[in-house]
């Protein structure tokens, strides 16, 4: 090879070597010095999840799912949160909202667990199953659900040996009723496939 070529080659290698080495040093320094302790985004994601703690997302609870999302899991696996949560997550993470993944279940109306007290045998299995300690009762005594604490995750239903737990929908009352958005009939049509909004 000509000396010009060799010189050029050496120059190129030298220059990039220097750049690479200094950059690598910087990164190496950063990798140790600024190790990320806890990811604030996980908290933000977790705050958007409904905290039903039902495991339908295939993670044991909302926080694990939040962590998985930050690590790249798709955002459409939480049936209790449904469309609304997916949209919020998409917003936060700058992703395209996806439809709910049916493999994880469907979006249902909010329910609470109700224990038919005269059938309860007091086995405490539901207490163990409840992720938010919403069931009161001691061994061999009747158990009761604190409706205001119950997230409706239905995890207590399956373990009950005598099937005395029902998931019931909360009734609409004058207090919690609100106007629905105007319906389609009276209004102009729309392009939104889902929508009965104007």
């Amino acid at each position: 090879m000509e000396s010009g070529v060799v010189n050029n080659l050496l120059g190129a290698i030298g220059a990039l070597l220097a750049l690479g080495a200094s950059f690598g040093a910087l990164l190496g320094f950063a990798a140790v010095k600024f190790k990320t302790e806890g990811n604030p985004i996980v908290d933000q994601v977790n705050a958007l999840l409904p905290q039903t703690q039902c495991g339908q997302c295939s993670y044991p609870g909302c926080r694990p799912y939040a962590e998985a999302i930050v690590a790249g899991e798709s955002i459409n696996k939480c049936p209790p949160g449904g469309e609304a949560t997916i949209h919020q997550l998409a917003d936060l993470l700058n992703l395209e909202p996806l439809p709910l993944d049916a493999e994880h279940g469907a979006e249902k109306a909010k329910t609470v667990a109700f224990i038919r007290e005269d059938e309860c045998i007091g086995c405490t299995k539901c207490i163990q199953a409840c992720p938010v300690d919403a069931i009161l009762g001691a061994a061999k005594l009747m158990h009761t659900v604190i409706a205001s604490e119950c997230t409706g995750c239905d995890l207590c239903v399956e373990p009950c040996p005598v099937d005395c737990i029902d998931m019931i929908e909360l009734p609409t009352t004058v207090q919690n009723w609100s106007w629905p958005l105007p319906n389609r009939g009276a209004l102009i049509a729309t392009d939104k496939s889902s929508g009965d909004l104007v």
Partner: protein, 574 residues
């Protein structure tokens, strides 16, 4: 004469007051049955203090106020309590709520009243107590318990709201004309209770007779009777305060923050009656008007009177009208049906003719013309609220101060595209409220979940520690070869079997759903029976045994039913 300020926006719809304001107030007849809802006001429903079948007298307290933000409810006439049950009430949802139903006996026998003509000598607390016990809630708007509202310190201005800005309604107009002395006494009591130095009485200038009457009644007082220009919604509390004082109630605040209290004229009169005459709130003046009513006018109506009864009395021709509105045409709501009763806030029943309120216009797209923003008394941008409510962008709605919307309907009134704007806002407000409740619940659930996880971890750690200790011990004892005879738990065994069964079912794939349901039920019965036997043999507590046997019976019933159903469905197909 005090200065009149002005507020942003407002509209001038046709007034339609003359139809009903010419005749004096008449008494409405006593209906055979009164339906008295326990919640006719904002706050907690009252607690019933009567039993079904009990005879009650007119003015007798039938439900007590439940706490401070609540008022009592009284029997509007004498009769028997026939039921305490859920009944459709006057609410836009058309839902039901608990009502006390009284069969009137026609005697209209009243309970002995305790008048307080010497009310000046009472403590303010005592007066407030009387107001609450006599069931006074705001008669002008939302039905806010008056005692609660009046119980504020540092009030310097009392505003009496005789504006009555909505079209059609004339109840306050007639009241001011006919009962101005009582009103004057009521205002005096209110001034006494609140300690206000200034009293401003606001009346729209389209009610000259009322202004005159009130001026005459109050001529020896240093109160200002202010005639304000007719414009909707001058009667809104916040707007009236701005009109009369030039001040604005701070966002998310109440008039008391400015040292102001605002009461409706009818409320003031009711308070005078309650304190001076000892009469509880059992009736109110209601305007009955609209093309479908022949005898339009103002009626003194007992609370609890079914609307149907009332309308029949005033010559309502039923099927002309598509809707009956409780309240005025701008703020009122349509009734789900005619069985609902009159309540404390029923100032008007409007039965409009087919085209009286304008023919149905077709909704079009919002063209952002901005007319709505020009009339909004809250200085909001209704069109933006509409777009964001439609797309359910709650963040944006909050940024555009949806919460400050008073739902007056001025925007929808002027909207050239005839959009149901107010409904959008109400729906959005409901959604936001629901969201915030959910959010709060999620917070609670999260902390409880985390607490539980922590506890479990702690327990596990402890168990691990003891296990380690025990292991060491066991090692020492290993040579001694002491075997523990493990007694199997019957419940555990049953669960085991059920699980096995479930697994089997799952393996067998998608079995016919009916038969698998049957199988499941059968399995459940088996399981329950087994559990019962086990429990019996191991001598469990009686309570457990009864519970188990009850469940066995229930399951058997279910099974039998299911089997019958299945046979039925199979037969015709064969």
């Amino acid at each position: 004469m005090s200065t009149i300020y002005s507020f942003h926006g407002g509209i001038h719809p046709a007034e339609h007051k003359t139809e009903s304001n010419s005749a004096p107030i008449q008494a409405a007849p006593l209906p055979p049955c009164l339906i008295v809802p326990l919640s006719q006001h904002i706050g907690l429903p009252a607690k019933p203090v009567v039993k079904v079948g009990q005879r009650v007298l007119k003015g007798e307290c039938i439900a007590m106020a439940d706490g401070h933000l609540s008022t009592s409810v009284h029997a509007p006439s004498s009769g028997y309590v026939s039921a305490i049950e859920s009944h459709v009430i006057a609410h836009p949802s058309g839902l039901s709520a608990t009502c006390i139903i009284i069969e009137t006996d026609g005697c209209d026998e009243a309970i002995a009243a305790t008048p307080h003509p010497d009310w000046r000598s009472y403590e303010i607390g005592e007066l407030l107590g009387i107001i609450r016990e006599q069931g006074i809630a705001g008669l002008g708007g939302a039905g806010f318990p008056s005692a609660y509202k009046l119980n504020s310190d540092e009030i310097h201005t009392l505003i009496i709201n005789g504006v009555e800005c909505e079209p059609y309604i004339t109840a306050d107009d007639r009241l001011m004309r006919e009962r101005s002395e009582l009103l004057e006494q009521g205002i005096e009591i209110l001034q006494h209770i609140t300690g206000a130095q200034t009293v401003l009485i606001g009346i729209e200038d389209n009610k000259p007779e009322a202004i005159e009457a009130v001026r005459t009644a109050c001529k020896h007082r240093d109160w200002a009777v202010v005639s304000i220009p007719t414009k909707y919604p001058s009667g809104g509390e916040k707007q009236l305060i701005e009109l009369l004082t030039g001040q604005q109630v701070p966002q998310a605040g109440i008039p008391a923050d400015l040292g102001i209290v605002c009461q409706n004229v009818a409320t003031a009169t009711a308070i005078a009656q309650a304190i001076i005459e000892g009469q509880p709130l059992i009736s109110r003046i209601t305007t009955l008007t609209g093309e479908c009513i022949t005898e339009k006018g103002n009626y003194e109506v007992r609370l609890g009177t079914p609307i149907k009864y009332l309308l029949e009395h005033v010559g309502y021709a039923r099927d002309q009208s598509q809707k009956i509105i409780m309240g005025g045409p701008l703020m009122g709501f349509t009734l789900p049906n005619l069985d609902v009763p009159v309540v404390k806030t029923t100032n008007c029943i409007l039965a409009p003719g087919d085209n009286e309120l304008g023919s149905e216009t077709r909704t079009q797209a919002c063209i952002r013309c901005g007319h709505c923003a020009e009339v909004c008394p809250a200085s909001l941008l209704p069109q933006q609220l509409y777009w964001y409510a439609k797309s359910q962008s709650h963040e944006q709605l909050k940024a555009h101060n949806l919460a400050d919307c008073i739902e007056c309907g001025a925007c929808a009134y002027v909207c050239p595209s005839a959009l149901p704007l107010v409904q959008f806002y109400r729906a959005a407000k409901g959604e936001i409220k629901e969201k915030s409740i959910e959010q709060r619940q999620a917070e609670i659930a999260k902390s409880r979940f985390e607490a539980r996880q922590a506890r479990l971890e702690r327990d596990a750690a402890e168990r691990e520690a003891t296990r380690a200790a025990r292991k060491a011990e066991a090692k020492a004892k290993a040579k001694q070869d002491a075997r523990f005879a493990g007694e199997e738990d019957p419940v555990q065994a049953a669960i085991e079997r059920a699980k096995a069964k479930k697994a089997r079912l799952q393996q067998s794939g998608e079995a016919d759903s009916v038969s698998s349901k049957l199988d499941e039920l059968k399995a459940k019965v088996e399981r329950a029976k087994f559990g019962l036997e086990q429990a019996q043999s191991s001598g469990k507590e009686e309570k457990v045994l009864t519970a188990l046997s009850a469940s066995v019976q229930r399951l058997e019933r279910l099974l039998a039913g299911e089997q019958a159903k299945q046979e039925q469905t199979q037969e015709p197909s064969e």
